[in-house]
Symmetry: C2
Subunit: 501 residues, 2 copies
């Protein structure tokens, strides 16, 4: 129970709240693999003491001022689809769920901006914009289970980010409630330094309650194409070349050989359309084994398994999606296709892109069936410059590969680099061993990423999962990071224990 005085004040201020165990349970976890492994193993994470649902900025301010006085931790919460433990109330305290602040405040058609409360779900925001003829252009695979606040808290990237940018590129301004209850507004135009400090801070420095974002008219035209390359390197070179020519497909996804294989053999009409649930089956049929437990045995020797796959599979699938004005799209498509062919790509037509499009949102929150079978599945997204990318890919792949089956795709391309999205599948007996093995994958993967000079996170955030690596990545800047925290949140009530704070 929260301290009686605090509870009394929460009641007096008329803040909607719950002390019910069901609610506290529901807010004790996020969608991180470790959280899921624990849950499936029957372990209940640390429960928060109370859930509060503010209805407006004033209530957020009131609650934070109260929490600050009572030195009670506050975990801002959106839709709970984070995968790094960022929204887990590891120090108990108050969960501040923003989902009742879910209004679109205005659509400014003259400046092409939308302002909304941060509890709005991504998909609802996008749908409302579409109705008026606009798009945010932000399509994370978690769009159905992520809020605008979550986007900003983690510096989210959508699947079309190569054209539209990450959420920080779409950002114009926001309202931030500080730990002491003060409310400040900041914008990219006037206070970029403050805005950039808050963006991606995962609720550790302030609670973003409203944000204004750039929108665009809905694209006139869309077009998808696929290419097959002889190797990852060949595909990457094609991407680098068309990006540096100034072409901007919206979707750029280059699958490494195993990921390409899984993608290509994925049944498109499957009812439960999570690719993860197919991985064991597919790998297993690919390797000629007859039962799931054969794969479990293979996963006891992940290095060997990965090597066998490296030996057997070489080809790499590239999916490109274009959207925008017709005149531009046609030229872009032509230019990009020419480069892909020149670099050795074999055109596969529209089919792979349309297949991807159909199940683009099915991955993020549907991996639980696998966990039931004793597997763990997770993803790790790193990024680097073109010169460094092969080294980063090989380094992290081989590090993860010591512990789990690993595949990757390259997406969110830039003119000077790209992100790599690793998916890995491991298996261990029992919850504790599974958690340990899962942690080993992360430790090795993060170490390899730091060694190769990649950034340890591209768009999933830090949370607790990557906190140690984040501190290492910051190096001497960690002192200033801690100081920003000390200044903005002197009692350290905001989401304590996250991002190395």
């Amino acid at each position: 129970m929260p301290p009686p005085n605090l509870l009394k004040e929460i009641r007096n201020k008329g803040l909607e709240h719950s002390l019910a165990e069901a609610d506290r349970l529901a807010y004790s976890r996020d969608c991180s693999s470790a959280s899921m492994i624990r849950l499936r193993g029957g372990e209940v994470e640390i429960l928060p003491k109370i859930i509060v649902w503010p209805k407006n900025n004033q209530e957020v301010s009131t609650l934070l001022a109260l929490a600050n006085t009572h030195q009670m931790p506050v975990v801002p919460y959106g839709a709970g689809s984070g995968v790094c433990g960022g929204a887990i109330p590891i120090h108990k305290g108050i969960v501040l769920d923003l989902k009742k602040m879910d209004q679109i405040l205005f659509l400014d058609e003259k400046n092409l901006r939308v302002r909304a409360q941060c509890g709005i779900l991504g998909e609802i925001l996008e749908r409302e914009l579409n109705r008026k003829g606009y798009t945010l252009g932000h399509f994370p695979s978690s769009i159905y289970t992520a809020t605008l606040g979550g986007y900003l808290a983690c510096r989210s990237a959508g699947q079309l980010s190569t054209k539209y940018g990450k959420i920080e590129d779409l950002f114009h301004s926001m309202k931030v409630v500080l730990a002491t209850g003060g409310v400040v507004d900041c914008s990219r135009d006037k206070e970029a330094w403050f805005s950039e400090l808050i963006l991606g801070s995962e609720g550790t420095l302030g609670v973003v309650t409203e944000a204004e974002l750039h929108v665009r008219p809905l694209p006139e035209k869309r077009k998808y194409v696929g290419f097959q390359f002889e190797s990852v390197a060949q595909g990457l070179e094609a991407i680098r070349l068309f990006m540096q020519k100034g072409f901007r497909p919206a979707v750029v996804r280059l699958y490494d050989p195993l990921d390409s294989f899984i993608f290509s053999t994925h049944p498109s009409r499957e009812k439960n359309n999570s690719s993860f649930s197919f991985i064991p089956e597919k790998i297993f049929s690919f390797l000629g084994f007859a039962k799931w437990n054969s794969l479990q045995m293979l996963l006891l020797q992940p290095s060997l398994l990965n090597k066998a796959i490296d030996f057997a599979l070489k080809k790499s699938l590239l999916i490109l999606g274009f959207e925008g004005a017709a005149w531009k799209l046609d030229h872009e498509l032509l230019g990009v296709q020419q480069i892909c062919k020149r670099e050795g790509g074999k055109s596969l037509g529209e089919a792979p892109g349309l297949q991807w499009l159909k199940r683009r949102y099915s991955v993020s929150y549907k991996m639980s069936p696998l966990v039931n079978q004793g597997f763990f599945v997770d993803t790790m997204e790193v990024a680097s410059s073109w010169t460094n990318l092969a080294k980063l890919y090989e380094g992290v792949k081989s590090a993860i590969g010591q512990e789990a089956l690993v595949m990757a795709h390259f997406s969110h391309a830039y003119h000077d680099g790209c992100s790599i999205y690793f998916t890995f599948l491991g298996h261990a007996l029992g919850k504790e061993k599974t958690l340990k093995q899962h942690r080993r994958v992360w430790d090795k993967g993060m170490e390899a990423s730091l060694k190769a000079g990649g950034t340890i996170s591209h768009h999933h955030g830090i949370g607790t999962l990557k906190a140690e690596a984040f501190v290492q990545e910051l190096g001497p800047l960690y002192a200033w990071w801690k100081n920003a925290k000390a200044v903005l949140d002197p009692q350290a009530i905001l989401n304590p224990g996250k991002m190395g704070l």
Copy 2:
């Protein structure tokens, strides 16, 4: 003289330096109007005690550590073309001139980035890039007299920023020497929050010694066109519409009626090609007076003068410059021309654009002849969203217009707004009165900008000139700004007295 101990240590460390009065005089000023008025009035600004020319990062670090120990102010100095007093050593101390750190460290053709020391002049950096087939795409009118460090310190904008972005958009990473002598690296990819704090901080939080920036291949094709609109509002609407359609001309300059008039009657073969030197003559001939002193008399009643001009002149000139790949340029040109015509623009062909191109760099550092005649000339750049722009333009114009002859052009367009660049010409008898009148223009202009919700600076920086308005603009964020300073520069040695610090 600097304290003997400090001087001894500077000598012991082998730092190149000068105590000569000629050097101290040369570094006592920048290109701000107030500085020029004082100089022309025979007043010497406060002299620094010593000039130091570091040759590498280590020497910058050594010097800062020494200054920190001796609590001696340090003013980082580039090429001295700032117009806001940012590089004037108002608290004496050490001027740290970075111009001997002027090397291009590498051109990374695979990632399309260039890394250079911050003392390099903008024009030399651009020329070297051009030789290799690349461009930075950054062309401030001060390109011959501004360093890379100056670009970053003021968040500079080039004349082609509508296509290429401001310097912060071209920024990838940098090396910063802190007040205590520590050296940190930060990048947009990993530590955006720290990078954004340093960018635009005018040497108050650290000294940027190296930076890595995005470059692009030289454009295939260039094309200029001009349009005449019946009013500023008509021209602005055309710009808004083509920007929101996704077109990105590199140059977008909409001159208000007086600026259009001055532009159109500017003799293109003039030897001293500063437009400022023509203003009095042109206005004067326009108004039918015969002598310069008539204009001086008119400037005693600036409100009347501005009103007469508003009454007489209505038409507004738009100059557009396109560059890039041929296929894209042709389409962009066509699309933008269609929109301009539909909105009432009359095509003027290539001539106005080519005329602008010829004297694009001639303004910034050639305004001194006017000052000799007892006039003061200055510029004020503000910015806002489209919805707010007319209000901002009218508000600031009428505020400045109470004290000086005022004209403006709109440039650096964005999809959601634009910058306004006011040029004003005033006259008063004697140095002190001129300084006071000049200050009044600024006070009134800044007040009007704040009132209209514009940002008080788009790309010239803050310095001392706009410090008060900057503090007002920051509002509650000013406390965090001061705190960042206190943490990064505990002895407050870095460029004290600037940016409200």
